[in-house]
Amino acid sequence: MESLAKEQIIKDLLPQKFGKAGKIWVGILLAFCTLGLVAYILQLKNGLVVTAMRDYVSWGIYISNFVFFVAISLVGSLITAVLRLTQAKWSTPLTRIAEIIAVSAITFASIIIVVDMGRPDRFYNLFLHGRLQSPIVWDVIVITTYFFVSILLLYFPLLPDMAILMKYKDQTGMLWLNKLYAYLGKFWKNTAAQIHISEKAINILSITIIPVAFAIHTVTSWLFATTYRPGWDSTNFGAYFISGAFLVGAGAVVVAMFVFRKAYHLENYIKEEHFDKMGKVLVLLALLYLYFNVNEFLVPAFKMKKSEEEHLMGLFTGEFAAVFWFAISTAMLIPIFILIQKKGRRPLPAFIAGLLVVIGSWFKRYLIVTPTLLHPFLPMHDVPESYKHYFPTWQEWAIAMGSLAGALLIITFFARIFPIIPIQETITEIEEHEQA
């Protein structure tokens, strides 16, 4: 019986070939990526003038996208590290989903920052002539570090599954895939010594990733907070960014849980219980982020310094009001309202809440970056009208959407190649549960 259960688990969790829907999904993502690539080639050819960025708004949706990717990548440390270290066993099926979201997001965070450069061929100057005093250099260091930590945290727990994947190579399909599995994990024999080393390494990584993850989000917030501008001049920014990052990361995991559960029929592994628990996590994080937002806007609004008035009123009732209230509602208020109720934490409503969090959070990043740049302390004088407003050009939209599609494509291909739920870990947990 136990043997059958084990076989069933392996059968359920082995990577599956794309069905018709999967192929359409990949086709759509590839189309977006291609469009983004074409737009980027045009940008390379003609320069950043193809964007709507000018002297004042020099950080547009590229940097908004960068902050969004950096934020969403924090989920790796939340699910894998925090929940692992707190012995929250229920999170086991979610760890790999969280880690691949983290890896794909941090990969595209790095790419999008290069896209924002007018002369990417001079990127190496950042390393040759970078100043250690600059938060931008700290960001480069910490993003690189976080990327490697996330890769290792994805790789170590994957090793036991490699042996299973090789054993069931007939079911996994293509020859090159089997070669890949062999290259990555042929040496894994599931011996006690190997398990001991692997578990120790995962624990070390789980501890290491937390300060690194906090650093990446804090340093990213410092890119703004160390600059004296309305809306950025805040001592609250590090904590504000981290809470927002946890929220969007958790939202993305809920969305991914729902999609993978549906697409791969994983109802026996990603259960309603998981949505309930992640729903509770999400509502807690949304409340926390709402608290930081109240701090971030109520205090300056109470004082309403002349220099910040235009920026704040622009958000509350001015040209950005629609986006501002949309972001606050979709990223926090509506998800809190949905998820605070028990029936709201069932798969579909939780998925909708997660999706709203992700969409709202993207717009929230846009609001952090752009309106501030349009309200400098020194008034704008004798500048073309186009400098006073910002709306992304089609090239910017295409590149931004292409990067989002690229991140989703990494997750999609990963799920095609590797088990999206850890097989060996699931088997071990069931065996331990039965023995207990």
């Binding site: 100043r131 250690l132 260091i141 570090t145 790789y155 040496f187």
Partner: protein, 288 residues
Amino acid sequence: MNKHSKIFFTAILLQFLAITAFSQAEKNDLSLSISYFNSNNHTQYLVAHAKSKIDGKFQMIPNINLSYYIGTEDAANLLGKAVTNDKGDALLFIPPAAKDEWKKSAKVSFIIVSEKTKDFDAAKGNVDITKAKIQIDTLADKKITATLMELKDTTWTAVKAVDVKIAIKRMDADLNVAETQTYPTDSLGVASADFKRDSLPGDSKGNLTLIAKIEDNDVYGNLSSEKVVPWGKPIKYYTQFDKRTLFARRGKSPLWLELLAYSIVVAVWGILIYLVGQIKKLKQLGIS
């Protein structure tokens, strides 16, 4: 010519006169003045000033082309040309070529002439000066003297009863050496002042620059003479330039920052390298 024609032509004539009068009234009078400066008895220059009364207020007039002459308004006596700036001022150093004209007499006349513009008619201004020189000197007990001499025919003669400003030259203005701002010259042409500014910050060696000057004098113009004396308090200038600061260039970051940043990088990457080593160990265990 009938009655109607007379009325018509009279109206046209009045209209023409009104337009002419109006166009003439549009042009304001340009007022030009000129001042003579002699600094340290060797640098001589002229500063012209252009102003006009517009809407009941005097306003400085920029962009006026001025020609400077010495003696008479002849092409041979042209010193040079300059254009007024936003403050209506135009400065011209007296060129060495004017030496012969300068030496002709003890009294010299300078003339400025502006060109006609669409807003102003041509204008003229002049100043007559008597050649003079001022010499600053110091005595024991921090006493300062300034001697004013004028040229009479061919001899330098002391000038008495002229107020001389004796001061310390600072960055933006002159600082009195004592309570009194100006000191009159005596029969020997000497004005005396006591230096009463102890512990005044000087340069790195404690040097101060004393200055004696007469300003806007109707006869002599503006004369000044300077002397450097070690009567100040030496000031050591502290600069953060090219020091290890958060705002310094690359390679000049504060040591605490370098220590902190590199320690974190070494610690975290040390762990990552250790873990990569563990992968190698896992491979070895798998092979054996």
